[in-house]
């Protein structure tokens, strides 16, 4: 009997245990996810330095009346703006620079009628950075349209649109000074009523990276960050539609509140690495 035992065991292993690998993967998925295991934060967005949320939607955003824009409201109404720090342990040899992530989040999937590389073709996102290291010229760029910055200035303008693979960084005199990596992340969840393989996009994040070798140490001094979303217009320098003081096609979640909006954009302030 003993000489048969290992043979019986081997047969059971092959015929029963091995085929369990596939359903076992699904079971393990649920278990691992429930334990909080995630893809390393270094890849998925970094440490949050500060964020502002607006999950209820922004009353200031008035999509133009044309039916063309009705279907893309999700793509314009940002629900969260965050600033995250990504640092790879030294010496990792990773090859990806330590950087700051400027993250604008939106509900659902982006509208992408032109099927562009980054997956969005209707909207454009501007990030503005007021750095303590730069002696600001205290000018509002015409590119920022009707928006007034509460701090009165910005030093870097980061433009992300579906027509370019990279984020473009301008200084406040309008010169393109650098390009950086941009990526669009879709967070998917199982669609109700469908089998597990069918997923739907719950959230879309647009992430522009600013290398720390370019920006300087973001954990020192007072930094101001702004995020602005508008309709893409490739005929405009800023890629923002209607740079003619028509602010209502823009969405910026860090407006103070609807009553005192009046085109004043308040920043996400981070001083010495802490949100103010």
């Amino acid at each position: 009997m003993m000489k048969h035992l290992s043979l019986i065991l081997g047969t059971v292993l092959i015929l029963i245990v091995v085929p369990l690998a596939i359903p076992g993967g699904y079971l393990l998925f649920d278990y691992l996810y429930s334990t909080g295991l995630r893809i390393n934060a270094n890849y998925t967005g970094g440490r949050v330095l500060g964020e502002i949320t607006d999950p209820e939607g922004d009353v200031l955003l008035q999509i133009p009346d044309s039916f063309h824009y009705k279907s893309i409201s999700n793509s314009l109404d940002s629900t969260c703006f965050s600033v995250r720090l990504v640092r790879f342990p030294f010496p990792s040899g990773q090859g990806i620079e330590n950087h700051l992530n400027l993250v604008a989040e939106f509900n659902g999937k982006f509208s992408d009628p032109l099927d562009l590389h980054n997956g969005f073709g209707c909207n454009v996102i501007h990030f503005y950075i007021d750095s303590p290291y730069v002696k600001s010229l205290k000018t509002n760029s015409e590119k920022a349209a009707a928006i007034t910055f509460s701090s009165g200035s910005w030093d870097y303008q980061v433009i992300v649109d579906g027509f370019h693979d990279k984020a473009r960084i301008y200084n406040n005199t309008g010169n393109l000074i650098r390009e950086s990596t941009v990526y669009v992340r879709e967070e998917k969840v199982p669609a109700p009523g469908l089998e597990k393989e069918k997923w739907q996009v719950k959230k879309t994040s647009v992430i522009a990276t600013i290398p720390l070798s370019f920006s300087g140490d973001v954990l020192k001094g007072e930094w101001h960050y702004y995020a602005l979303t508008g309709i893409a217009d490739i005929t405009s320098l800023s890629f923002l539609f209607a740079p003619d003081k028509t602010a209502n096609v823009y969405d910026a979640i860090n407006y103070k509140k609807s009553s005192d909006a009046e085109g004043i954009l308040t920043p996400l302030v981070i001083k010495d690495g802490k949100m103010q």
């Binding site: 081997g10 393990l28 995630r38 890849y43 693979d165 990596t181 941009v182 990526y183 992340r185």
Partner: protein
Amino acid sequence: MSDSSLLPARGKSIQASIFLTIFSISILAVFALLTGSFADSVMRTFEIKRMIGAVLTLLYLGIIFFLILKTGRVSKWRNIFFISYAICFVISFLGTLFEQRGHMELLDSDALYGEAPMCHIVVPMLLIPMILGKGIIFPTSYASVPTMLIAVIIILLVFGRGFCSWVCFYGGEETLFSRLPGKKIWNIRKPHPVVKAFPFGMLFFIVVTSFLTLTPVYCIWFCPFKTITEFFEINSTLRIFQTFLFAMLWIVLVVVLPILSKKRIQCGLFCPMGAFFSLGNKISPFIVKIDTSKCTKCLQCISVCPTFSLSAKTIEKGRTEITCTKCGDCFDICPAGAISYGMKGSSITIHNHPFIKEGRKPGFFRRMAADLWEPGTIFMFGIFLLGSVLAFNFFNNTIVRILRLMGL
């Protein structure tokens, strides 16, 4: 007890070979229809080229498996499967990459987005950061991690290092280059023990450094197979150096040295995943047995072993070393037929089977039962099926591409 002279020296009976081939191909067809990209494409659209590809793939795999069983020439037919599998993997992988991205580079944005395809070699590097830090240190999609984890764990426990000669889609490249016609220029019979232990040192090194740096060190610095799959975008001096390093490793370890030595140098003396699966050989019930009473000590098996897993000392003990990939190359070369698959704790082999009565020629069903229920058949059935499940989409994808090229 059986009388081995009543059985053919090699190979299973025709009835057992046909039964097992049909059984395994049927299971493979069900797997293909239920999971993977073929299933997805069938669900979405019914494409005739994919159906032709699927039928040809099943036919090809069925013929290969039948020939392995019937002829008993495990090495010859397994190598044909293994090499064609590796070629189809490269064609399929690169074809898909070029269709989707237009190049082989993994852009920084793809890495940050978590779009890098995960392979089995990543698993040892993931384990400690996963357990201690609840973080997955490889930029891949979350869904692929549990599937890969469970597959590697089951393979490790059940087949041990058998994976490296039957399932690994990289191993066939080296086998191809080591089997190219030509004289063996560099005869390595017995590498220095330190050289043989190098993969274990490499495994330890990458596990520790991956934990300390929270990055997949092997993938970033050492993986030779990035040369024919995908690699990080070359946008800095560091990346130029890394690209040079892995390209040189591929050229030297996978191409040049295998051609010169007729051995799988990368698998035998470098690959940390091979070392990881070698640890599984301690647990796996399936082993390669050497019948010392039959062995004539000709030592031809040592010269053909592609991963340096045999020595005079281990042959005397009737077993292989821990690094054995269960490829079967030594079965074919052994003039005495002394080497076969066996199972730990059991003396049963095809030459020594309780179903075969001494002095009596076995009948149709008794012979079939003995052929089906012996360690070698069970091992080959399991591991070939596993390899086929993984290889199916690569074969199918390649056939579809060839059909498209032919304008069909």
